[in-house]
């Protein structure tokens, strides 16, 4: 345990905790209204939205997992770059419209939009439940990012409090603090903390991509140390489109799925204007660039040979390749800067975890509690339920990560991407196509979920790509994308059939 690194880490953590509680007073609003607690009163301008979404979409887990994949598997891990390139044209095309509809009608969630557009409680319920279920494991994974850096600092995971040994004590403390200020301040807390987190993150990335390559002898040397097989994707062969096909479909599918996650929708709906949303589509790629550079840290870890160093053996044993970036930082940076870099990752886990739990709470409150349990709930009751649900969701994630193997959370998150993309026809296409039928959309959704889950099950949930066989050609494809195509085909075809039937009954009656 290095006292300098730990002191800086703990001090930064304490600082953002104070910010989190203080945030309740920022752009003060009546926090007993759900849109105040759960959307920050829709008062965030371009810059705050930029920080909030940057902290929200580019999670700590991404920042640890992407270089870990590069470290372990090579070029495949770089799919995060085309993925984030494709997010913004989609965001630019869809979200200004979604924001305008939500703003006009006072909607808080994507399921609200679907409920209003199709007047179907069941379709809205399907969208809400899919969102909640897909997000829960994602919250759990944020804890993994935090766990790795806490272990990297050498802070003991089991602490003795009053003679009783408490396992995972640092994680528990971090999460209790997070839960308390989210409850207290709502979306204002992560928005304010995101500013600090992003400042720390950009500093860390800038220093890392300048200092580490200089220590290792330049970029050419770094790439030369990666073995030739991992440096590029394995090319396709005449009968098999191979790795490039998996890479492209992963990028496109992930980009579509990301924007459907409740935490993306919550972040974007909290913007104060359409202009703020559009401007963010143009300026958010700055984070993609940071992510691209962070991905390259995986190769720097290869070049530095951290895996062979005895001081990191226990870290790699416990966390596998996820430990690559923390090990690289410990190897390359002085202790005080390790404290800053690790704080950036840990605080980077708090922001999305808070927004995700708020987004789940909004969905539960609006589309399950108010819709099915207490239709006459007051604003105050609504906001109170949301606060409590945000606590329950986080406790669930904590339990998950402490009690179950991390592998489960990773597999569930992988399935989460396949599930959430199935809400695309209802949420996005519903904005543009008039003839869509809610029953058809619900059946399409069910087909997509079923087929996508089945495809992932074929690899025992180890990978999300599934090889399709089309006229003798093998096409490895991200299961989210192929199941979405099925979903769309079913939803559009049935909409035509049901739509014309409905028109016929209309003119007859």
């Amino acid at each position: 345990m290095n006292p300098v690194a730990v002191t800086i880490f703990v001090a930064l953590f304490a600082f953002v905790t104070l910010l989190g509680f203080g945030a309740a007073r920022w752009r003060r609003g009546d926090l007993t209204h759900l849109h105040e607690w759960g959307l920050g009163g829709r008062r965030f301008g371009t810059l705050v939205t930029w920080f909030l979404l940057g902290g929200d979409l580019y999670t700590a887990y991404t920042f640890v997992a992407v270089p870990a994949l590069m470290f372990g598997a090579g070029a495949v891990g770089f799919f995060a770059v085309p993925y984030t390139v494709l997010v913004y044209p989609i965001l630019f095309a869809v979200f200004p419209k979604l924001w305008a509809v939500a703003h006009e009608k006072g909607y808080v969630t994507a399921a609200d939009v679907v409920r209003g557009r199709f007047d179907s409680r069941m379709l809205a319920l399907a969208v809400a439940v899919t969102g909640i279920v897909a997000t829960m494991p994602y919250i759990a994974l944020q804890l993994v990012g935090m766990e790795v850096v806490i272990a990297g600092l050498g802070i003991p995971m089991t602490m003795t409090v009053g003679g009783v040994a408490v396992p995972d004590a640092p994680l528990l403390i971090a999460f209790v603090v997070l839960a308390a200020y989210t409850y207290n301040s709502g979306l204002r807390a992560p928005a304010m903390i995101a500013v600090v987190k992003d400042a720390l993150l950009y500093v860390t990335v800038l220093v890392a991509v300048i200092v580490i390559p200089a220590e290792l002898g330049g970029y050419a040397k770094i790439f030369a140390s990666v073995d030739a097989k991992s440096l590029l994707l394995t090319p396709s062969t005449p009968g098999n489109l191979g790795a490039p096909s998996a890479y492209a479909t992963l990028a496109l599918g992930s980009a579509l799925a990301l924007l459907l996650y409740p935490h993306s929708v919550t972040g974007l709906l909290s913007a104060s204007s359409v202009k703020a949303v559009k401007r963010n589509a143009v300026i958010l790629p700055a984070y993609s660039f940071a992510l691209g550079l962070i991905a390259l840290l995986g190769f720097m870890a290869v070049a530095a040979g951290v895996k062979a160093l005895p001081e990191f053996a226990s870290g790699f044993k416990q966390f596998g390749n996820t430990f690559a970036v923390p090990a690289l930082f410990l190897h390359a940076f002085p202790a005080w800067f390790v404290g800053i870099a690790f704080a950036a990752i840990a605080i980077g886990a708090l922001v999305p975890a808070a927004i995700m739990s708020i987004a789940c709470a909004n969905l539960f409150t609006r589309n399950i509690y108010k819709e099915f349990i207490a239709p006459n709930a007051s604003h105050k009751a609504e906001s109170q339920v949301a606060k409590i649900v945000s606590l329950v969701v986080k406790l669930g994630a904590l339990f998950f990560i402490i009690e179950l193997p991390t592998q489960y959370a990773i597999q569930l998150q992988l399935l989460g991407g396949i599930w959430i993309i199935q809400t695309l026809p209802a949420v996005f296409l519903g904005l543009y196509l008039k003839r869509l039928d809610p029953t058809a959309l619900l059946i399409g959704w069910a087909c997509g979920i079923g087929a996508g889950t089945w495809m992932a099950a074929q690899s025992a949930f180890k990978t999300s790509t599934y090889a399709l066989h089309v006229f003798g050609l093998t096409v490895p494809c991200y299961a989210a994308l192929s199941s979405l195509v099925l979903n769309l085909a079913v939803a559009l075809a049935l909409s035509l059939v049901l739509g014309s039937k409905r028109q016929a009954t209309h003119s007859a009656g």
Partner: protein
């Protein structure tokens, strides 16, 4: 040729939004080492370059509908 110019402007600028998809989804085009730049293989710098380019192609559509 009497078509008013403003009507065509926004549409063309929206077509630009498709460029990143073409650039990113045809993977065999960039799955190569040469031409390397400062020791960085083409595969990596090409994709990194598309991050700012992806933001640039949004600009005409953004400016076009600001009215």
């Amino acid at each position: 040729m009497n078509e008013p110019a403003p009507k065509r402007g926004p549409r063309l600028s929206w077509l630009l939004l498709l460029l990143p998809f073409a650039a990113m989804l045809f993977v065999p085009f960039y799955n190569r080492v040469e031409p390397a730049f400062l020791g960085i293989p083409f595969f990596y710098w090409y994709q990194l370059l598309w991050i700012p380019l992806g933001a640039l192609v949004l600009l005409p559509a953004y400016l076009g509908d600001r009215r």
